[in-house]
């Protein structure tokens, strides 16, 4: 461990914005992933100037800096694998401007997604990329992970909502990227390069974001399927039909069973359910979209199809999906719901095969896995339920994940749909991007020649995620 000049940090941030006690550092060593590693210090900037000063110091002293938002990343993006200073951006949390005529807002990176939506609501607007973790995820973290969510099928991911940003580079320089306009034709679109860069290229200190009007009408529906393949085919048909769902979610039989087992929701235990939604300003238009989706589900042997505009009924329809996390966590006292193989994307036509593969691999490796996700965006999620105390289970998880991502790549899918790569998905990412790895490293080198910004992530991460860091679980000897 390098020594940190604490007096320098105090000079930049003031005593009250620095943490060095092991009990604080320990808490900042994890996120929502399976990883844990200790940072050397945590600092909390209030303004851009301080971020610049820190980077000048760290770049000179060759100390890693790890930007951190809500710390809700699922793949270890914020885990300080090589130690260093955690740069906690949560205090740069000002919504700077809500510009209605120009339809954009400017925010600091620590603004929490739900807070931004709360501020936009009185103006009849919302910020649509919204991940499920919106109550904790910060705009900075969402940009760095290119977060998306249930409504991204219609409104796009973070990358589509970001017009421009201010970024502090690893050498402390401040640059303005992108624009405040809806279109910008030429140049390298460097703001889009920052989206999904997982804090390895620059620190976002301000973002200009697009927002959209809250629709007058939302209608949600659900359809059950006796075969995964039928549900998968329905997804592809809906997306190819010209219908514009504002949500298209899949939950598989394992998920339904888990919700029934722990929450007693009494859902029908079928092979898969699709939850679909349409929204808009004109009811007839929403009716048209929803009927189209209903028809397609029917055509693919969907049953028990119901739809509703009523908010309470919509909440009931969505309940199974909403309660999935707690259901998985409570599934069995001896099993933990781990963020592993958590996220991937495959072409629509392979959605059902993907879910089937997940079941097959889980069974073979003696773990429990469920398939669910924003299938309208081609996104599939899973969790691995396992006894984290048993070393053999980690070995099984390692094997299962390798097999799953081999399948993802074999059907032209991609390693991460929205949760990012960090540490735990790096192995597959590196295989998938084999022919552009050098290019990625060249870009990293050009912006961060001393490799101090969130080092050891993405293409730099170790191949074996199990041993890459300590694990956040207690594993028997």
């Amino acid at each position: 461990m390098k020594t940190i000049d604490e007096s320098k940090l105090r000079e930049i941030f003031g005593e009250e914005n620095i943490k060095t006690d092991p009990s604080d550092l320990y808490a900042f060593g994890s996120d929502a992933s399976v990883h844990h590693a200790m940072p050397w210090a945590v600092v909390r900037p209030d303004n851009t100037r301080q971020v610049q000063q820190l980077m000048v110091y760290a770049n000179d002293a060759l100390i890693p800096v790890i930007p951190r938002g809500g710390g809700s990343g699922m793949c270890g993006q914020t885990v300080p694998i090589r130690g260093g200073i955690v740069l906690d951006m949560k205090h740069m949390n000002r919504i700077l401007e809500i510009n209605l005529p120009d339809v954009y807002c400017r925010v600091e990176p620590g603004v929490v997604d739900d807070d931004l939506n709360l501020a936009l609501k009185p103006h009849g607007m919302f910020y649509p990329p919204t991940p499920a973790s919106s109550r904790i995820a910060t705009i900075g973290g969402e940009i760095a992970n290119n977060a998306s969510g249930v409504r991204s099928v219609k409104y796009g991911a973070t990358r589509d909502a970001v017009l421009g940003m201010k970024v502090v580079l690893p050498n402390g320089d401040l640059v303005t990227l992108g624009a405040h306009t809806r279109v910008e034709a030429s140049g390298y679109q460097l703001h889009k390069l920052m989206v999904g860069s997982e804090g390895t290229l620059g620190i976002v200190v301000e973002a200009t974001l697009n927002f959209v009007p809250i629709p007058e009408y939302r209608c949600m529906g659900i359809a059950n399927f006796d075969h995964l393949a039928h549900a998968g085919a329905a997804v592809g048909s809906i997306m190819a039909s010209g219908a514009i769902p504002s949500m298209l979610e899949l939950v598989d039989s394992v998920a339904i069973k888990a919700v029934n087992k722990t929450m007693n929701l009494g859902l029908k235990e079928v092979a898969a359910s699709l939850i679909f939604e349409a929204d808009g300003m004109v009811k007839e238009a929403v009716d048209y979209e929803i009927n189209k989706m209903k028809e397609i589900c029917k055509k693919h042997q969907g049953s028990d199809i119901t739809t509703s505009y009523d908010p309470r009924e919509r909440a009931r329809i969505f309940m199974g999906r909403k309660k999935l996390f707690p259901a998985l966590s409570k599934y069995d006292d001896n099993l933990s719901s781990t963020s592993l193989a958590d996220d991937m994307a495959v072409p629509y036509s392979r959605m059902a095969d993907m879910a089937g593969k997940i079941h097959e691999v889980a069974k073979k490796n003696n773990i429990i896995m469920t398939a669910y996700g924003h299938c309208g965006s081609g996104c599939m999620h899973t969790k691995i339920l396992m006894d984290t105390k048993q070393p053999e289970q980690w070995a099984s998880a390692r094997k299962a994940i390798t097999e799953i991502y081999e399948f993802v790549r074999s059907v032209n899918g991609t390693t991460s749909a929205e949760h990012g790569i960090g540490l735990s998905k790096a192995a597959s990412f590196k295989v998938e991007k084999a022919d552009s790895l050098r290019l990625l490293q060249t870009i990293k080198q050009a912006l961060d020649p001393n490799n101090i910004l969130n080092p050891g992530k993405l293409m730099q991460a170790p191949d074996d995620w199990v041993t890459a860091t300590g694990l956040r679980y207690a594993v028997n000897n």
């Binding site: 320990y26 844990h36 694990l471």
Partner: protein, 317 residues
Amino acid sequence: METKHPTRFNHLKKWESTLAACIRCGYCFEHCPLFKYTGWESDAPRAKIITAFGLLSGELEPSEAAADKLFNCFYCKRCEAACSSGVTLTDIFTDARKDLVEMGYAGPGTTAVTDLTCAQCLLCVTACPHEARFHGENGIETDLVKCQSCGTCVSICPANAVNILHTFGTGKEDLTRASARFLDTHASAKAIVFACNWSYYPDLQASRLPESETHDKDYDIYVNMCAGRLEPETLMAPFLNHAWGVLVACCPEDDCQHKNGGKRSKQQVKRIQSILENLDIDPERIQVVEIPDGDKTLFQAEIDTFIDHLNALGPIK
């Protein structure tokens, strides 16, 4: 991660699988009054769970600072209500506290401390809703495991001998200072609303709104840890800073986490009302309303009605 050395955390041990079941999502953050106040993630509920795991697994050496993470908690259970995974956080904290106390850690965190001016009248011992005050070797003491930091003993002590040292923005001085600052900086300011953390508490406060959205606010909300604990000075202070009125939100009487909080807050407000009356000020400028847990709609409606009432009265002459 291997378990490094045999645990001395015999009570905490039974939570091993729950500590693993916490998915570390952080959904509990923004609801915690500690996090809202300090803005440090390491004060948030998730960090307390991580600390408990670290202590149990031996990865984190027990220390004053680590113990403080577990002694600092108001037992409001907002984190539990928000938890994505059904983790009963405060039960875990309580067991961790038992182990820490056995190891000799003495907090105090957010628990009540007694100073030398204590007259040993035992009022607090009878009043404590959680049976946490007792007559011990050093006079009247607090049971660090049982204390839920409600502040009843603080407000009831005639000798002013009880204190909660770490108030995280919810203490008497904090509330007085914050409300004065709001009234001072907002020409449009009319009312101060004191909301009990258990009845309704404003969530989502971790981000700051632009000036343009807030400069004409006519009221501001301050969360306290039990409406029954609001003292006359705190309730009167806004009037001295030219507020038009004060609204107190408490829990329904049969639903108070700390037994008599609702009843006590009504008594306090009644007392202030008679002071106002003596000063020839409309007593209805201070009111108390019962808000069931989390009823945001009712809370907002009550505030709106109160502001309408103040608008009809105008400022205090």
